[in-house]
């Protein structure tokens, strides 16, 4: 598990990216926000966000795999798209890269 310091800084970076990319007020983005249901991010904006996150952290978020898991019932969308879970996934990818 990533430590809380890492998670907080990852959350801040991701929330900044979302706010900048999708014109969402930064204060409205919390660890509990669902990026699609609560923040209303559409697929094109999500691609922008994915690119910005990939670049920022030097990772490749496996979004296609996530979507396949959701579409085939192996996972719920919340596991990937609620901010706390998204941030945890990003921290895992950062750790795997190290």
């Amino acid at each position: 598990m990533p430590d809380s310091t890492t998670t907080e800084s990852t959350f801040d970076a991701v929330a900044d990216i979302i706010a900048e990319t999708s014109s969402i007020e930064r204060d409205k983005i919390t660890m509990q926000s669902h990026t699609i249901n609560d923040l209303g991010i559409d697929s094109l904006d999500f691609l922008d966000i994915t690119f910005a996150i990939d670049k920022r952290f030097g990772i490749k978020m496996p979004v296609e795999q996530w979507m396949e898991d959701v579409n085939e019932g192996r996972a719920s969308a919340d596991e990937f798209f609620v901010m706390s879970n998204l941030v945890a996934k990003i921290d895992e990818l950062i750790a795997a890269k190290a």
């Binding site: 094109l44 691609l47 922008d48 994915t50 690119f51 990939d54 670049k55 490749k60 978020m61 496996p62 979004v63 296609e64 795999q65 979507m67």
Partner: protein, 154 residues
Amino acid sequence: MQLEYFQLVDRVATLDLKAGKVECLAQVPETSTIFEGHFPDHPILPGVLLVESMAQTSGFMLLALEDFKRLPFLIQIESAKLRTFVVPGEKLRVTGTLVHQGSGYAVTKGEIFREDKSIAGAELRFRIMPFPTEGLQARVRERAEEVGLGEAVG
């Protein structure tokens, strides 16, 4: 270029999949119905077609990177710059550089040169999706052969 068929590159000159670089050649036709309206008595190639030529150039590289199993669709154009008029008969060199290959998407930088001078550029984003039909997949493969994609791979 065959503007009416939306074929905006004539030849893939070089393709380096490892480096993520492609270069295509494109000659603007002397005549086209498009020039009758854009513009009467002042024919210039529409800027959207310059952007499309960059997208097709990068698209050939992405097709090769995907081994023709999936098709790149242009979904976003960032920071496009069209620096000068392009007129009938001009010979252009169009390049594409892979910026990032993500999960289900790719980002490239496109550029167009007249001789050695850059005359247009843009960052292009593509969604990479399965071919919607087998017929389209076959036609895209044919088109890639027509422009010499296979021979260009370095």
